[in-house]
């Protein structure tokens, strides 16, 4: 026993040399964050001139024999490599600090949208060459990127998520008939995508981190220097279409008071957003009118959830239509019986086309029923 006590100081002295050195070939758990791979992809994206940018914007319609394509795709090769690596990692954390309030910067959104377009262009070109595997990999990577972007419950991030996932739908739909992927496997692939947030998840963030942050900043500015709070308030209102009632606010205390009265409204908003669509459509307009009449600030600060939800519903329908279309392409129109229009009473409506077919939902978006054309891939 006495010998054991004698060993303790020796162990303490030797401890630093006993500690294992970090092996550079071993990845730390932090490396499993897909955002690191995405940012490498963004960093490798070449600056595009106006012409190339236009090409990327028109990825779904540009002629596949356009000589400019090769250069754009060659320049984007490294970015696509990192995008595909990121797609293997389900966890993604962009490291956003919600405490920054409406000053929170979201530089990844624009980069992600461009990366999705680049991958879609690549997938379309490869599909034109008969490389269905590349098309499927690109579409999966784009879809995963959309989910990664939509992991934060921020409205603009969710809008960009739907935009990016929409790119994947537009990429796959024309080629659905060429896929040999069974419908159940396609559904399983879709179900395995990383989870992402929806509009209903954003309301609490809007309240706690954005609306409450503005109120806090106004107060802090006014305390720092009398008059600075009001100046900041006016800067927030910079621009047109501010209601006259709001323009008339002459003191920061008045602005703060109105702002504080808005906060409980977000709880009401959360309840409305969680309602089924039919109930929301029936009840929300009256709530909106009443709220705007009661507090002029509502029109300035509170988000337009009805329009965001319209976008969300359209996206949900398009995803459901794509999965149904894969089943129809494999087993014929009878397979539609197994699908259900999320905003209808039964399956989607089916209409054959010269090449492929069209599915139609009961959901109306911008005065038109939502549709998806399938199997219309151009060869050029």
């Amino acid at each position: 026993m006495r010998h054991f006590y004698a060993v303790i100081p020796l162990l303490l002295l030797a401890w630093p040399s006993l500690a294992p050195a970090q092996d550079p070939t071993q990845k730390s758990p932090l490396a499993a964050n897909a955002a690191l791979q995405h940012w490498q992809a963004f960093a490798q994206m070449q600056s595009l001139d106006k012409d190339q940018q236009k090409l990327l914007e028109e990825w779904s319609t540009v002629a596949l024999d356009d000589p400019r394509l090769e250069k754009v795709l060659a320049a984007g090769q490294s970015s696509l490599l990192y995008l595909h690596r990121a797609a293997r990692l389900p966890q993604c954390d962009w490291g956003l600090d919600y405490g920054d309030g409406v000053s929170l910067l979201l530089p990844h959104l624009a980069k992600a949208r461009d990366l999705a377009r680049l991958a879609a262009l690549h997938g379309r070109v490869e599909a034109g060459r008969g490389n269905r595997g590349a098309l499927r990999d690109d579409a999966t990577a784009i879809m995963t990127l959309g989910r990664h972007v939509g992991r934060d419950p921020i409205m603009i991030a969710i809008l960009v998520r739907y935009g990016i996932e929409g790119v994947a739908i537009d990429l796959v739909a024309p080629h659905v008939g060429e896929f040999k992927l069974p419908a159940d496997q396609a559904a399983a692939l879709f179900a395995a995508l990383p989870p992402a947030k929806e509009v209903k998840d954003t309301i609490d963030v809007e309240k706690r981190y954005f609306a409450a942050w503005i109120i806090k900043k106004l107060r802090e500015e006014e305390q720092r220097q009398p008059g600075a709070g009001l100046k900041l308030w006016r800067n927030f209102l910079d621009g047109a279409e501010i209601p006259e009632d709001v323009r008339k606010i002459a003191s920061v205390n008045e602005a703060i008071e109105l702002g504080e009265k808005l906060l409980p409204l977000y709880d009401d908003l959360a309840r409305y957003v969680a309602m089924p669509k039919a109930q929301f459509d029936a009840q929300y307009p009256a709530f909106k009118d009443k709220t705007k009449a009661a507090n002029p600030l509502a029109g300035v600060i509170v988000p337009a959830v009805d329009q965001l939800l319209a976008k969300e519903h359209r996206h949900q329908v398009r995803i459901a239509m794509l999965l149904a279309a894969i089943a129809v392409a494999q087993g014929g129109p009878d397979k539609l019986k197994d699908s259900k229009d999320p905003f209808g009473d039964g399956p989607f409506a089916y209409r054959p086309l010269d090449r492929g077919f069209e599915l139609q939902s009961k959901l109306i978006f911008e005065s038109q029923p939502v549709t998806l054309k399938v199997g219309q891939a151009s060869k050029k």
């Binding site: 600090d97 920054d100 624009a110 980069k111 927030f236 509502a298 029109g299 300035v300």
Partner: protein, 157 residues
């Protein structure tokens, strides 16, 4: 059994019982009389020596830890490293939200309140390429916006 002793058997044969310790007798006597062992003189010495051992080990450990700490903070150049208290988490000024050149939540919010393409223009700006000819800035702000303009703002996404 071997006819001749091999070395092991010789060694075993040489083993003799050890003379009991002089303290054994008193310890056995104490035990028979019901006196607790730690009250015996011998055991008291044993406990004392154990305590001294623990004390020495702790003292030596503390000294070793101090040496480690000093050697850690006292670098070879003879300069004592100053320990800087953790700084407050830096936060952006409110002006960040108002700067249209930055992709802030507020900038995107405002972009969502303008005629078609502004939101995409803003995404273009923050992708590193300039937007096409800019539409005139019109502020709508979601909840209070006119339907037509809000629909336009969302169309591109």
């Amino acid at each position: 059994m071997n006819d001749e002793f091999d070395p092991l058997e010789a060694e075993l044969a040489a083993l003799q019982p050890r003379t009991p310790s002089p303290h054994l007798e008193s310890a056995v006597g104490n035990a028979l009389r019901g006196v607790p062992a730690d009250r015996g003189v011998t055991d008291r010495k044993s406990v004392l020596s154990r305590r001294i051992g623990v004390f020495v080990a702790i003292a030596a450990g503390s000294i070793a830890a101090s040496i480690l700490a000093v050697s850690w903070f006292w670098r070879g150049d003879g300069v004592v490293v100053e320990i800087v208290p953790p700084a407050a988490w830096p936060t952006p000024p409110a002006a960040t939200a108002l700067d249209p050149a930055l992709p802030s939540v507020w900038a995107f919010r405002r972009a969502g309140e303008v005629p078609a393409d502004r939101l995409n223009d803003l995404l273009d700006e923050h992708s590193g390429h300039p937007p096409e000819a800019r539409s005139e800035f019109v502020q709508i702000r979601g909840f209070g916006s006119s339907e037509s303009k809000s629909l336009e703002m969302l169309r591109e996404l």
